[in-house]
Amino acid sequence: MTRRPLSPHLSIYRFMYTMSLSILHRITGLALSCGLILLVAWLVAASRGAESYEHFRQWAQGSLQLQLLLALWLLALLFHLANGIRHLLWDADIGFERPQARRSAKLVVAFVAVAGTALLWFVFFGGRS
């Protein structure tokens, strides 16, 4: 394999809070990729009959860690979605000036905070089982 230049030379930049969003985009992306395994496992469990599905459901709903993971996964999804739209707008040359990028960073964080609270409230206290 040949050596081609690659992007993240993090150590040479002065830290700006917008950078943390860029890094978080990667981290949440990786987390969502792991969550994909659970999503497919859920579909497969449902396709294999009632017993197999109940087994999966008890495993998933019975563990506090998994419920916490699900909550984090939903937050990661909201963040990756909002910040991803930001990246797509940049690709279309919209909002790429520094002050705009900083403002949209705050907008993304605010969106995740508000929509995340609402979504988690609905999922975990919405009165479903």
Partner: protein
């Protein structure tokens, strides 16, 4: 033939662009756009289920609109995910052998996930139709 940039030696040594970057870039953006539409719809409709019992979930997956949506969203998710993980591996794994092995493994895992997901949805929706 387009104009060749760089020296002859550079070309022989394989320096310069790999010429697969544009495809990677546009597929990543294309799948992102599709997911912006599909994911909120599917996750929203799943969360509106009265419960996550076997019957509710089977009925939901087996509904024709949901089934079509899932058969689209699962492979698109896998594709988008594979492209993203690929970039992370290329950026952070520097040992050539490990890098190649990791890339192949990630690609294979995503193909398996996509196929398994679509087969599961098809089994449910075709099974519940009859």
């Amino acid at each position: 033939m387009s104009a060749q940039l760089g020296s002859a030696l550079g070309r022989v040594l394989g320096k310069g662009s790999a010429h697969s970057g544009v495809h990677h870039w546009s597929v990543q953006r294309g799948t992102a756009l599709a997911l912006i539409v599909l994911l909120p719809w599917l996750i929203g409709s799943a969360l509106l289920l009265p419960d996550f019992s076997y019957d509710s979930v089977r009925g939901w997956i087996g509904g024709s609109w949901t089934a079509v949506g899932l058969c689209l969203v699962v492979p698109i998710l896998c594709w988008h995910s594979q492209l993203g993980v690929q970039v992370v591996i290329e950026d952070y794994v520097h040992h050539d052998g490990v890098k190649t092995a990791a890339l192949l493994l990630v690609r294979a895992a995503h193909v398996v996930l996509a196929v398994a997901g679509v087969i599961a949805v098809l089994r449910i929706t075709l099974g519940s139709a009859g």
